[in-house]
């Protein structure tokens, strides 16, 4: 009986999704996209009012009123997507980036997206790349998540995404890890354990904060039982937004952090 299964598995189609069709994909992640040409000042104001976190806000900069969209705070509720200038993003490139690059500014008066300063490459990422080549060990750390992010991180090992194909493994001990993938807003009760786990990872090390809670505290940001987002407790190198981020977003983020050459294949 079991031989039948193995035979069938060998005959069944390969489910592996090629990396080029995963990078930047965000479908199912419910992150917003702003079409700035349709944006009005009034719409920007309504969107900010609808937003349950502070992912959408109005900011004054250089005597202009700008709409600020912080993906790090967005829980993907989809409320703003009811407005004309907003839709659900099919693609999202700000995965595995600095905190500044999670934020976009839009000028409703001029219908333009305002440029923000670009990233400075992280030294640790380059060092790990030169040391390890294509191998990377990830230790996932739940600092107080709702387990939504865990469900999606677990999916990275299924036959569709198969993270192992990039030489990336999940390891059991922080002492074996190059990268800490931290989910959740850090609760008071976890703060000590999070610090100790970070200290147990040998240098050079990278820390990636995952999900709205990990990036900003998300919907739990104001809770007295929460110490803060991950970067309030340990140093963070890069951020992957989402609530929860889809496997494609996670994979994009992890590969982006490594600045691994992933040239499109045939």
């Amino acid at each position: 009986m079991i031989l039948d299964v193995i035979q069938r598995s060998l005959q069944s189609p390969n489910r592996l999704v090629p990396v080029e069709s995963l990078l930047g994909r965000a479908d199912g992640g419910r992150m917003p996209h702003v079409d700035v040409s349709l944006l009005t000042a009034e719409m920007a104001e309504t969107a900010c009012r609808l937003c349950p976190t502070s992912a959408l806000s109005l900011v004054h900069r250089e005597e202009k009123e700008l709409l600020c969209l912080d993906y790090g705070q967005c829980i993907g509720c989809g409320r703003c997507a009811e407005l004309k200038a907003f839709s659900i993003a099919e693609r999202l490139t700000c995965c595995g980036v600095s905190k500044q690059r999670l934020v976009q500014y839009f000028d409703p008066e001029r219908a333009t997206e305002v440029e923000t300063e670009l990233d400075i490459p992280k030294a640790a990422g380059r060092e790990i790349l030169s040391l390890m080549g294509r191998a990377l060990n990830i230790r996932q750390l739940d600092a107080g998540s709702c387990n939504g992010c865990e469900a999606e991180i677990t999916a990275l090992t299924n036959p569709y995404y198969d993270l192992e194909r990039f030489g990336i493994h999940f390891v059991a001990s922080p002492k074996h890890a190059d990268l800490l993938l931290v989910t959740g807003s850090v609760t008071r009760n976890m703060a000590v354990a999070v610090k100790q786990t970070y200290e147990a990872v040998p240098a050079p090390k990278l820390v990636v904060a995952v999900g709205a809670c990990g990036c900003s505290g998300g919907i739990f940001a104001t809770s007295p039982a929460v110490a803060g987002p991950v970067d309030k407790v340990i140093p963070v190198d890069a951020y992957i937004p989402g609530c929860p981020p889809t496997p494609a977003m996670l994979l994009t983020g992890i590969l982006e952090v490594l600045r691994r050459p992933t040239k499109p294949g045939k």
């Binding site: 739940d142 998540s145 354990a193 739990f220």
Partner: protein, 495 residues
């Protein structure tokens, strides 16, 4: 059992609660939940008991808290954690509780700060003391595991007392992911509460959102339109399928039988990807809202879902049969981690764990809600109480859920998907649903579109205290397997 300790410490309500909770198992009430609230108009603190009384349905009893609460734990051990939570949240003394140590609030929380009543502005970091229970005797060793575990798992602490490989005693210390969710609900607009509910336990997020929305609807005496109820049923059963398929795969993975594990992870992913195409979200987030749902299922999406569900349940059934047929699986699963029927009853265990220990209970049938009203469907139950029974119950439930989805898909008809929830009234009410892990209840109170209290009875909070009873007597190496067969949510418990 002992009567209430200290006759003068008790109140008529507590006497009545204790009376209902005692007696032969088939006649006594089941403790559903126990929690506090503040009655702001009368400036008093209340304690609420929700019981499931045989033949009479849910019954809510209320009592005033006067600084101390007579404990009902000596009568019903199922109340132990609820009362400890009450003490942490409201700072009341428990009278006659066998173990009044703090539960939610760890050493870092000052002993005199109780988040539901005291100011939580800049709570200082404290260094309180927590005493673990100790087993003494020749050759007894302690093995401490967690909070950070070796894998993609949520945090929690397990302290085993072992002699050799045999577990003599297991103490759980959880609430590492305690996020003060019930405190955050206070002052949240009714229209946003489901977002917080979705983040109580991410893998059962739709169940939490629906339970919250139903409680709001119940409290406002409105009903979601029939189409919305059907969409909710489809989402709930799909979530159950996904959860159980993932659990069975993970159980196989835990005994290093990787083929079914890989298969199940693939089938689960198929269903999640279908969810994106059908409803726009992998876990049905943002779909349930008070008064209904935000999205309909189009005829073409329904057809897509029908095909995916048929294929998934067919493939899963085949794989599960192969798995259970392996002698290596049987030898690990059978007789491992037995939770006895009487212990399960005393601890008021719910969901697949209860149904594997001979407790034939399912909220969908016993307290039908939404589109489950009037439905007649099979509820698998076994009496062995071991890992194998818990696996088999889940396998059978996948087939039942698939059938429920297929039936519901044929009934989809165009219509409204949302009812208006009145904004300007005071409200109070609750609703329970059968989540993949068992009975999940939301109790809400508020006024003018704002919540003043929301209590979550989570099945994991109820079931965690039963786990040590299933683990004691087994070898420590079987713990991950037994734990997985319960598959309880840490975040759902800790909130």
């Amino acid at each position: 059992m002992d009567p209430m300790p200290g006759e003068n410490a008790t109140t008529p309500t507590v006497v009545e609660v204790a009376r209902l909770l005692q007696g032969p198992p088939e006649n006594r009430a089941r403790l559903v939940s126990l929690f506090g609230s503040i009655d702001s108009s009368l400036k008093r603190t209340m304690v609420h008991y929700i019981l499931d009384v045989p033949g009479a349905g849910y019954r809510v009893l209320e009592d005033m808290m006067n600084g101390s609460v007579p404990s009902i734990t000596p009568v019903s051990p199922a109340a132990a954690w609820y009362e400890r939570e009450l003490k942490d949240q409201y700072g009341v003394e428990l009278f006659g509780h066998p173990d009044p140590r703090s539960l939610l609030l760890h050493e870092n929380w000052p002993g005199n700060c109780h988040p539901m009543v005291d100011s939580t502005q800049a709570v200082p970091w404290a260094d309180e003391h927590y005493e673990f229970l100790q087993v003494e005797g020749d050759g007894v060793c302690e093995v401490a595991v967690g909070p950070v575990h070796a894998g993609i798992i949520e945090p929690g602490h397990f302290r085993f007392s072992v002699v050799g490989d045999n577990v003599l005693f297991l103490e759980l210390r959880h609430f590492y992911t305690h996020k003060g969710t019930e405190r955050l609900f206070q002052g949240t607009p009714v229209s946003s509460g489901q977002m917080l509910a979705e983040s109580v336990s991410g893998d059962n997020c739709f169940a939490h959102a629906v339970a919250y929305c139903q409680a709001i609807e119940e409290a406002h005496a409105v009903t979601a339109p029939p189409l919305a109820q059907l969409v909710r049923l489809i989402g709930l059963e799909l979530e159950r399928m996904v959860a159980h398929i993932a659990d069975v795969g993970a159980l196989s993975g835990d005994i290093a039988f990787m083929l079914p594990a890989a298969y199940c992870s693939r089938i689960k992913e198929d269903l999640l990807q279908t969810s994106v195409r059908v409803i726009g979200s992998r876990f049905w987030r943002g779909i349930a809202v008070p008064g209904g749902v935000t999205r309909d299922i189009s005829p073409s999406a329904a057809e897509m879902l029908r095909e995916a569900v048929m294929q998934a349940s067919g493939e899963f059934a085949k794989m599960a049969a192969i798995m259970l047929d392996r002698p290596s699986v049987q030898s690990r699963f059978e007789a491992a981690g037995v939770l006895h029927h009487s212990v399960a009853g005393d601890l008021a265990v719910v969901g697949p764990v209860a149904r594997a220990s001979g407790i034939d209970a399912d909220i969908r049938r016993d307290h039908p809600y939404g589109a489950y009203r009037g439905l007649n469907f099979e509820i698998p139950s076994l009496h062995y109480g071991d890992v194998l029974a818990r696996t088999r119950v889940r396998i059978d439930e996948v087939a039942c859920s698939a059938q429920l989805i297929l039936d519901a898909l044929t009934q989809l008809q165009a219509g409204p998907i949302r009812t208006e929830v009145p904004q300007d009234v005071a409200f109070e009410g609750f609703s329970a649903i059968e989540s993949p892990r068992g009975e999940l209840l939301y109790w809400v109170k508020g006024e003018a579109g704002m919540l003043t209290r929301c209590h979550i009875k989570s099945p994991s909070f109820q079931n965690w205290p039963a786990l040590p009873h299933a683990v004691v007597g087994n070898v420590i190496a079987d713990f991950p397997l037994i734990n997985k067969s319960f598959n309880l949510s840490y975040s759902g418990c800790d909130r």
